[in-house]
């Protein structure tokens, strides 16, 4: 219960930080006070009309950003801020995270479907093609991280990294996991839902406050993902001198920077090729990651 405010504090800070990092990475340093730029952008979207299309599925259109945001909160709820300081100390932490990934695909698909317009529709469908196999990747690398911990709880996975971080022990895990993060927060090389070649994809018909909600949900998911990645691969709250939550926040910020940089600097290949690459190259790599983790755990 006491951890709930912490979750929202980390989410708010993460959203703000990621929004600024994005502006910085893209060298659009306007307005001069870059720190407040996200607030100004939010005010603009709040003063704009929310357009509706001809015959949308209005309920699902509005539900999609809400579900997306709630899923980000759910994902962050299983991440411990310090030993015992966690909203939901579930034994099935990484399974819950997997369920959040799966439901995120549903939310993005619904967002694309509900507008009853061609560009969002294509975006929603294309996202499913990439989101599903990307989810398999993340399941393999998370299971690999659970092997030395002998538990599916995120807290136990963090504790198992006291001697060595999983990033070192299972070198393939983090890079593969980052790909999933790019996919579920719709950015850069894995942005098959809201892509620019579809004029914004699932968000192409969305304006004003609705677009703000969608953007916040995307960044919230990115933050939740970064906190999850920091806990599973970078030792989460573990670290000398500083208290646990501070370490988690620092590591989350570091991963946010990496994700933003990757999102701005990698090209997006056509979806058929990415689908083939996910199944034929990256999935076997995640098998290899599991084998490495398995052998390492028994040694």
């Amino acid at each position: 219960m006491t951890a709930i405010p912490l979750v929202f504090a980390l989410l708010a800070a993460g959203i703000w930080f990621a929004a600024i990092a994005e502006r910085f990475a893209s060298a659009r340093r306007f307005p001069s006070a870059i720190v407040l730029a996200p607030l100004w952008q939010a005010a603009r979207l709040l003063s704009q009309q929310r357009v509706r299309t001809e015959y949308p599925d209005a309920l699902n259109w509005a539900l999609a950003p809400l579900v997306y945001g709630a899923l980000a909160v759910a994902g962050l709820s299983v991440v411990p801020f310090a030993p015992g300081l966690v909203v939901a100390p579930l034994d099935t932490g990484i399974v819950l995270w997997g369920a959040c990934e799966a439901l995120t695909i549903v939310a993005v698909f619904l967002h694309g479907w509900s507008a009853n317009s061609m560009l969002p529709l294509i975006g929603g469908y294309r996202f499913v093609a990439i989101g599903l196999p990307a989810m398999l990747l993340s399941m393999f690398v998370l299971i690999a991280a659970a092997l030395p911990a002998q538990s599916l709880a995120v807290g136990a996975i963090v504790e198992s990294q006291r001697s060595m971080w999983n990033m070192v022990r299972q070198p393939l895990g983090l890079p593969l996991f980052l790909l999933l993060g790019l996919a579920i927060s719709l950015r850069g090389p894995m942005d098959y839902g809201d892509a620019s070649d579809l004029s914004g994809g699932t968000a192409a018909e969305v304006s004003g406050p609705h677009r703000l909600a969608w953007g916040i949900a995307r960044l919230a998911m990115l933050t939740a993902f970064a906190a999850m990645g920091a806990s599973v691969f970078l030792g989460g709250y573990l670290g000398p001198w500083l208290p646990g939550p501070a370490w988690l926040a620092l590591k989350t910020a570091a991963l946010l920077l990496v994700l933003t940089w990757l999102g701005c600097n990698l090209a997006r290949m056509p979806a058929p090729r990415m689908m083939a690459a996910l199944w034929l190259v990256l999935l076997p790599l995640s098998f290899l990651d599991l084998v490495i983790a398995g052998v390492e755990a028994l040694l």
């Binding site: 659009r28 607030l39 005010a43 620019s196 600097n265 058929p272």
Partner: protein, 335 residues
């Protein structure tokens, strides 16, 4: 009070603009690319101001009207080197040579503060087809697939060329003001899923003005479709400065060339040449529409964007318009 506070905050953010490129509009857009106070949007729903850049053709008027009405309120239109349509009241015009940033910012501020009224619709407030009270349930539809439920018919089954599974074929017209297409080019596509079954050129792209910066602007458009907006902006700025230095190396670092699969080897070659500031020769023998058949959406857009204007004019001339389309245009003009 609250509205004023919101406006005070909002006017500090960059002005979101949707640019409808006419003749030479591409180069005009590039001039805005380096201005941080203006952000060019991909969808009209994300913009506050419609900026018509450069002269447009008579055939583009219906599209321009449609585009204008899709803007969310508060909204305005600016005519930059273009003649305002008759519907535009209190039109803001800027000469082609002038820089529009100051005017755009002032207009944006006025809109947010409520000092300038948001523009009303230009098209009549009526559905695409009359449906109210018609049909089995008053929704305009008949039976399972028939009629015009809520104003539009449903897509019907069509032949499929790739996996022979006959599902609905959807016909859409994209352009002439879609930012990921060459300015002026409008295509009628018949899609099954995201694969193009059939294409037809509705209006051709604007002819080349012969600027030396054209290859870099073309490269910028392809980079946009590859999900590299920052690099695309860099290419636009390079185009303004007439120097492609370091651009190809930067594109390679981002994997822009690697991202293109073997089927798009021609696109890769043209992108590489464009990033060098040149043009790869194309025999120009096959029609554009034939080259698009069977292609997936992103690959198709990349291929269209890769042709230089001279080749595009050769392989994608205007097709004979359909009869009903002519009717549609006339109806709109009369309205």
């Amino acid at each position: 009070m609250a509205v004023r506070a919101l406006a005070w905050l909002a006017e500090r953010s960059a002005t979101p603009v949707y640019i409808a490129c006419g003749q030479d509009g591409d180069a005009m857009a590039a001039r805005l690319a380096q201005v941080p106070a203006i952000s060019l949007q991909h969808s009209i729903r994300h913009a506050a101001i419609l900026l018509v850049a450069g002269p447009y053709r008579d055939a583009d008027r219906p599209a321009l009207r449609r585009l204008h009405d899709q803007l969310p309120h508060p909204r305005a239109t600016v005519w930059w080197g273009a003649v305002p349509l008759a519907e535009a009241q209190d039109a803001v015009t800027i000469a082609q040579g002038d820089h529009p940033v100051a005017r755009l910012r002032r207009l944006d501020r006025n809109l947010l503060r409520g000092e300038r009224a948001s523009e009303p619709d230009w098209l009549p407030d009526e559905p695409p087809n009359e449906w109210r009270g018609k049909g089995d349930h008053g929704q305009g539809g008949e039976g399972m697939m028939g009629g015009v439920p809520y104003g539009r018919p449903m897509a019907m089954m069509g032949e499929e060329m790739r996996d022979a599974l006959m599902l609905d074929a959807m016909t859409i017209t994209i352009g002439p003001f879609l930012r990921t297409l060459p300015p002026g080019l409008s295509l009628e596509l018949t899609l099954q899923g995201d694969v193009i079954q059939q294409a037809r050129v509705v209006t051709p792209a604007y002819p080349a003005s012969g600027g030396a910066s054209e290859p870099l602007l073309r490269a910028a458009r392809m980079l946009e479709s590859l999900g590299l907006p920052d690099l695309a902006r860099r290419a636009q700025i390079s185009a303004m400065r007439d120097s492609a230095e370091g651009l190809l190396a930067a594109a390679r670092r981002c994997g822009a060339l690697l991202a293109l699969p073997a089927e798009l080897a021609d696109v890769r070659a043209r992108l590489e040449a464009a990033l060098r500031g040149g043009t790869a020769p194309d025999p120009g023998e096959e029609w554009l529409v034939d080259r698009l058949a069977g292609m997936e959406w992103q690959s198709a857009l990349l291929r269209i964007a890769s042709f230089d204007p001279a080749t595009l004019a050769q392989i994608a001339p205007a097709a004979e318009p359909d009869e009903d389309e002519e009717d549609g245009d006339e109806k709109e003009r009369a309205a």
